[in-house]
Structures are given as C-alpha cells and as structure tokens.
C-alpha cells in the first residue's frame, strides 16, 4: 500500500494533487438519499472517487469540523473572504476511514445541516444510505422520486 507522506501543514490542494497522482480512484456503491423540502424530490449524493480514495487512505483530508468552522464564517453577514483557511491545511489530517465512515463524514460535509441534524426526527425519514442498485436504474420520473414511506424509523431501530 502506498504510504501517505507527512502532510500536516501542507496545503490541502497539494495533498489532493498527490492523491490524484498516487492513488487509484474508488467508485463507491453507496448513495445518500435525502429530502430537505417536502415540496421537492429526493436528492442523491454520490461520493467522488478521488475523494473516497483519500478518505480510505488516511492522512490527507482535514477533520470535518474544519468545514463547519468555515461555514460559520461564511454565514456571517459581512463575510467577504475566508481568513481561517489555514484550518484546512494545518489541522492534523484524519486517519484512514472505512467506506462507511467516509460516507458519514461526507454527509456531515456536503449534506445540509438541517438534514443530518434531524434525520431521525419527525414522522418520516429524511435521509437514507443505500447502495446504487437499490435506486431506479433510469431517470424516468426523476423529479417525482421520494423516500418511501414504507421505510420507517422503527425499521431503522430494528
């Protein structure tokens, strides 16, 4: 297995370039299906293969809380430009993840907070992690796709 260089303090973009040159992309079969509005169809998050390779390799990606800190800065009304980008580069990178842990990380990074914070509250599921084979194989009626009501929180608990 390729050894990850000591990357703490290296610009995240340089780490990603190293990964692209040295790691084989990993096309994940996992998909994250979520709904953040009752008026809209289900959305489907698909991991990037090069990003997934970084997650599985370890020592490349910053901890997900770094993105949350930057999002907080960006939410300020007077935000113009990030001044804490160093968090991406100087924070100790996360260790190797399993594919499932990587999906959890990606949910926290790229899904709306309103979805992952309350995914198991309310009368119906807002988010499901599944395999791509479990989704429709064509895009017919794509804008009508919803998470099935047959999937309940009780099913998850069991």
């Amino acid at each position: 297995m390729t050894q990850t260089p000591e990357f703490k303090g290296t610009h995240l973009f340089d780490r990603l370039c190293w990964a692209k040159e040295n790691l084989e992309g990993v096309q994940s079969d996992y998909r994250v299906v979520y709904e953040d509005s009752v008026d809209e169809c289900a959305k489907i998050l698909v991991p990037d293969p090069n990003w997934m390779a970084c997650a599985l390799q370890g020592g490349i990606l910053p901890p997900v809380w770094v993105y949350h800190e930057l999002a907080k800065d960006e939410a300020q009304p007077d935000f113009k430009k990030h001044t804490r980008g160093y968090l991406l580069h100087n924070t100790e990178p996360v260790e190797a993840m399993t594919e499932e842990e990587a999906i959890e990380y990606l949910i926290l990074k790229d899904c709306p907070e309103s979805v992952w914070k309350t995914y198991n509250e309310g009368n119906r599921l807002k988010m499901v992690i599944c395999k791509k084979e479990q989704l429709p194989q064509t895009r017919e009626w794509r804008n009508a796709w919803k998470i099935s009501d047959a999937l309940s929180l009780t099913d998850l608990a069991a």
């Binding site: 610009h11 959305k43 489907i44 990037d48 960006e74 430009k81 990030h82 804490r84 990606l106 804008n143």
Partner: protein, 139 residues
C-alpha cells in the same frame, strides 16, 4: 514532495516570457466531468471534488474538498448536446446564482442543464458529458 522549481518568470527562446504568477493564478483549481443522464451521476474524472448531488432533472450540486477563499470564483460549465441533437435543438448550461435557488458557497455550486427546441422552448434536461471547471483563489 520531490522536485521543486522556484521561479518568478518563464522565458521561451523566441516567444517571450511570462510571470509564473499567471500560471499559478490562472490554473484551474477544481474540475469534474460526469454523465448527467446516467442513473445517478458519478464523476468520471475530477480534481478537488468531494461529491456530486443529483437534485433532479438537469439540476446538480457539486462540492469541492479544498474550499475557495470566497464565493466569487470563476466557474466554467459545459454540457453535451441535449436530446437527439437535431438541427433545431441544443443544450444550455447555467450556474445557479441564488436568485431562484442556491447561491454558490466556497465549496459548493449548483448548476442546471436545459434542452432547447423550437417547438417547446427551453426546459430542464439531463445532458451527457457535463464538465465543471473552477478558477480562483483557494482558502
């Protein structure tokens, strides 16, 4: 990292010279290519991307790993020809700027693809071979 050249200028024997900051600042910082009419669109080629979110027909959110320093970076989007690609139809791509949807963040952009026909006008459509490229400064 092995190998490092530090230089402020590149000079060609006949064509002149260029400051390397043009090269550094002018290089794309992220790109992704995917098929918009695949079952669920997955990246075929990419750099600095973390995910594609399929929002609906002709509607995608693209997220990067190394954030940009703000929200005013440059985005170039291209898409394959829509539908049958007949003489009277074409495809359009657009960046959602937030007027009716989701404004770009330092990590994510939302893009839309459309089909244009003489008979039906323009409407959202899943087109093949979508490429998004971003230019600008990273955080």
């Amino acid at each position: 990292m092995a190998g490092k050249i530090i230089a402020d200028t590149l000079e060609h024997s006949t064509a002149g010279s260029i400051a390397t900051n043009y090269v550094v600042n002018g290089s794309a910082k992220a790109y992704v290519q995917f098929d918009g009419n695949a079952g669920t669109p997955a990246a075929n080629k990419s750099l600095n991307h973390s995910s594609i979110t399929d929002i609906g027909i002709g509607d995608y959110s693209l997220a990067v790993a190394a954030a940009f320093d703000g929200v005013d970076y440059g985005v170039v989007i291209t898409g394959g020809r829509a539908g049958t690609g007949g003489a009277n139809e074409g495809g359009d791509m657009s960046l959602d700027t937030g007027s009716s949807g989701t404004a770009p963040t330092s990590t994510a952009t939302r893009i839309n693809s459309f089909r244009n026909t003489n008979s039906s006008g323009e409407y959202p459509y899943d087109v093949p071979n979508i490429t998004e490229v971003r230019y600008g400064d990273l955080a």
